[in-house]
């Protein structure tokens, strides 16, 4: 059963290893853990309609599955029932499945060519883990397997107590399609897409996710070719035909597997210039130098602004010479990161402060109660 051209990567898609886009990004996080439904974030992203063209919209929501929080929520799209049975055969073989079912949607005329959308709450079967392999590593391997080897199946998201909802359409339509007003989350991240060189397809919409990490991205990664080849050495296989994918995998590699701090992450993805590094005091200089020497292949070159999120953090970052916009805002415990300032004012009356970070300077919002934000980064 063929479900429409915008569903899956067409066979000729291999010709475009990455696509690039001008986009809108928006993120909001309640550092106190208070939850809101999807309406404000939809309103905010819709306000930047100029920045998207209806070829992709998506959301990541954290804190939406509290009752099943100890299970990984695998959200998948399938080309057809055959793909679903192929994938389910693998999922049942590899995981204990607590709950499974279609993702609830509502029919609206603006969203068409819809793939099958399912979610599975799973836990790796202990017998499947390789020696000394953690559950997270196993999940990464399983996601790669599904994306690479199971034809017609793609994993939207694979984290705990979170989910990614995305598709082809304007983000506000995608939000209504997925009935996001029915979900309550403490962090919402949204994306509206304006792809310039490829047709939109469901898998290519943002956010990109691996485990808890989600990335929304505005820009084009000129270094994509080498970022991808570097990540391949560590077992990440880029299958979704967009450069944003490499950011998600790089974040997973650097923060989770290599244990770097967020500041180190920013120094890798948007490395300071050598002339800045050379002026640092010795200890910092050595660390910054080592980071560029070791992780030079993960420097994200070219224009970007991104919001990276997980269950406890939301990080905004621009490229080192700041070729894409990013603005931050704060209202009590609520932190906002956005392509533009207007949507924050639209949904938040109590905005205390907004500011624009420098190129390569991360904005970090953290869940911990208290200051929440790091010294030297705004506030």
């Amino acid at each position: 059963m063929f479900r429409g051209s915008s569903f899956n990567a067409p066979s000729r898609f291999f010709r475009d290893d990455k696509d690039f886009s001008g986009c809108s990004i928006f993120g909001m996080m309640d550092r106190g853990g208070g939850k809101v439904n999807g309406e404000p974030v939809i309103k905010a992203i819709a306000n930047m309609k100029e920045r998207s063209n209806g070829l992709g919209g998506g959301f990541a929501a954290y804190g939406i599955y509290p009752d099943l929080a100890e299970f990984y929520a695998l959200q998948l799209m399938f080309e057809d029932e055959c793909a679903r049975s192929r994938a389910e055969e693998f999922i049942r073989r590899s995981f204990e499945v607590a709950e499974a079912g279609p993702i609830p949607t509502r029919s609206i005329p603006e969203v068409t060519d819809i793939p099958l959308l399912w979610r599975y709450f799973v836990r790796p079967l202990p017998t499947c883990l390789q020696e000394e392999e953690g559950e997270d590593d196993y999940m990464v391997r399983a996601v790669m397997h599904i994306n690479v080897n199971i034809e017609g199946a793609f994993v939207f998201s694979s984290g705990k107590d979170m989910g990614v909802f995305k598709g082809v359409g304007f983000p506000e339509d995608i939000g209504r399609f997925f009935r996001l007003e029915e979900y309550e989350a403490y962090t919402w991240v949204a994306h509206g897409r304006f792809p310039t060189n490829t047709q939109g397809w469901w898998g290519g919409a943002h956010p990109f996710n691996i485990l808890d990490w989600s990335v929304v991205h505005n820009g084009e990664i000129s270094s994509y070719g080498i970022n991808r080849r570097h990540l391949e050495m560590f077992g990440y296989v880029c299958t979704l035909h967009t450069d944003t994918e490499v950011i998600a995998y790089a974040v997973d590699l650097l923060l989770r597997r290599h244990g770097l701090s967020v500041d180190d992450l920013a120094m890798v993805l948007a490395a300071p210039l050598w002339e800045q590094i050379d002026r640092l005091p010795r200890g910092k200089r050595e660390r910054a130098t080592a980071l560029r020497q070791i992780y030079g292949s993960l420097l994200m070159n070219g224009p970007f602004s991104i919001i990276i999120s997980n269950r406890t953090q939301m990080i905004g970052l621009t490229d080192r010479i700041r070729l894409r916009p990013l603005v931050a805002g704060r209202a009590g415990k609520m932190m906002y990161i956005s392509s533009e300032e207007a949507p924050m004012h639209l949904i938040e009356d109590g905005l205390e402060r907004t500011w624009i970070p420098s190129g390569g300077e991360p904005i970090v919002a953290e869940m911990e109660v208290g200051t929440g934000m790091r010294a030297g980064v705004g506030a």
Binding site: I226, A271, W274, Q293, I294, Y295, P303, L323
Partner: protein, 502 residues
């Protein structure tokens, strides 16, 4: 025996312009020009002309023209003039044909079949005159992850080897003192120091006068072990074990005794006037584990403070060999392609043995990545670079840096006449004759080198900026920014690039 060899060039003198100044007579070490005082005329023996254009360049009245001898040999696709002359030469001498410089055969030059990308609309191109543009490159072993151990001054990063810092990803190739004059060595050293990069001693040792440039010197350890001693190793910034050379894979080298002057004998630590023979293999390296021993011996000898490079010629199974070299502990793998230069090589070996560097580079980079060991060593490639376009394509294919040999000599005046092995280089480069070598002023030659590398660096910056990239590491191995033109599917697969239009 009457020679059947036709002169390669004709030298034409405009007698109206010629002022009998005899510059040409003095400049030609091959004695192609002769002044006859009785007749007040300058005569030419064309059979001696090597086509180096020294006389043409220096003639103050531009009275001279050198052109290819138009005499035609009978038309034959097989038996071209070149083939005929080579056969006559061997029939007359019974010798192995010797030549200099790199292979100039019509093998495909893949650089000319690869084109670069540029940004349009979605990604702003960057103007390097107004925005930062970084070429700084580090060579040496790097770990897969940052994992620091210890505290304060004793802090170190697990797996991080000593690094060479290059301000531009270009170095000067190994050319030995002996193959080239002292002045030429000095020019290379001065230029490397000024550019913030490195030159390579080749296998001829290092004269003590040049130790002051040691921080910009890569010292070679080759099969003859010429000039290798504690101070030599100590003076260097990095060491290189030379296993092979692109111009003559599988064979060694031979510096004839006539060239072994007092200074060369001291530097190479051999008796004056004796032949300096580099054996084909290292006789203490008959397999990979022996190479590993030499790598670690050199590391020990230099207290683990210097990266050790291993240089091989590009041959069929370079990828597997390179993998072995990395696993044997090398910090840098240098690969020299079939078009790489030489001071002297048997013509048939130079022209028939080895593979083009583009293919070897792509295969080695792929292999090291497939094995997950690409970070453990840097890749430096040599052999056949002619301009910054070639260099940037090599970096996009996966090289960390390139070695430039012939381009450096050309910058200093070399006209690629391929007579280096005669020792009569009229440009004062490949000679030990004091009369000839003083023609090369180290200061001026260094200026020419610095100018050329700076110009190439600027061009690389412009091309990077055009691609929307402002740091060289974002292009390194970024083959998506390359496309092939007119290449077969197999060639594209090996190079790991797409065809233009894809």
């Amino acid at each position: 025996m009457k020679s059947y060899i036709l002169p390669e060039f004709l030298v034409e003198r405009d007698d109206y312009r010629c002022i009998r100044c005899e510059v040409c007579v003095r400049q030609c070490a091959f004695e192609a020009h002769r002044y006859d005082a009785d007749e007040d005329a300058v005569f030419v023996d064309e059979s001696k002309c090597c086509g180096c254009l020294r006389c043409v360049t220096l003639c103050p009245t531009r009275a001279l023209t050198v052109r290819r001898n138009p005499t035609q040999t009978p038309d034959n696709y097989n038996w071209t003039r070149e083939q005929l002359m080579d056969a006559y030469k061997q029939a007359e001498t019974g010798g192995v044909l010797l030549t200099g410089m790199g292979c100039g055969r019509e093998l495909p030059i893949y650089w000319d079949r690869i084109v670069l990308d540029a940004s349009q609309v979605t990604n702003p191109s960057i103007d390097p005159l107004r925005e930062p543009m970084e070429l700084r490159t580090w060579l040496g072993a790097k770990p897969d992850r940052l994992d620091s151990q210890g505290e304060g001054k004793r802090r170190r990063i697990e797996g991080m080897g000593p690094q060479l810092k290059l301000e531009t990803p270009m170095m000067f190739s190994a050319i030995s003192y002996g193959a080239i004059s002292y002045n030429t060595c000095e020019a290379l050293a001065r230029a490397a120091a000024e550019l913030g990069t490195y030159y390579n001693t080749g296998e001829g040792g290092l004269r003590r006068d040049l130790y002051k440039y040691g921080r910009h010197t890569i010292c070679q350890v080759a099969s003859g072990r010429f000039g290798v001693h504690a101070d030599y190793l100590e003076a260097a910034a990095a060491l290189e074990i030379k296993i092979g050379q692109g111009a003559k894979p599988g064979i060694g080298g031979h510096l004839p005794g006539e060239k072994v002057s007092l200074e060369i004998s001291r530097t190479r630590m051999i008796p004056e006037g004796s032949d300096a023979i580099s054996p084909a293999p290292h006789h203490d390296i008959y397999s990979i584990e022996d190479l590993a021993q030499l790598i670690y011996a050199l590391k020990e000898a230099t207290h683990w403070t210097k990266p050790v490079s291993v240089k091989i010629a590009a041959v069929h199974n370079s990828a597997a060999i390179a993998s072995g070299i990395v696993r044997a502990g090398a910090d840098i793998v240098a690969i020299d392609g079939i078009r790489g230069g030489t001071g002297a090589a048997p013509t048939r070996i130079r022209d028939n043995v080895g593979i083009p560097i583009e293919l070897a580079l792509a295969a080695v980079d792929d292999r090291l990545r497939a094995e997950g060991i690409r970070n453990r060593a840097s890749i430096v490639v040599a052999g056949g670079f002619r301009n910054s376009g070639d260099v940037i394509k090599a970096i996009a294919l996966g090289a960390d840096a390139v070695y430039l040999g012939t381009p450096a000599l050309v910058a200093m005046g070399c006209h690629v006449c391929r007579k280096c092995y005669t020792g009569k280089c009229n440009w004062g480069i490949a000679t030990q004759d004091p009369y000839l070598s003083k023609r090369l002023n180290p200061e001026l030659a260094a200026r020419r080198l610095v100018n050329m590398i700076n110009a190439w660096s600027h061009e690389i910056m412009e091309m990077l900026g055009g691609m929307g990239i402002n740091a060289i590491e974002s292009l390194r191995g970024n083959r998506l920014r390359l496309r092939g033109v007119g290449l077969s599917r197999e060639e594209l697969d090996i190079l790991g690039i797409k065809h233009a239009g894809e």
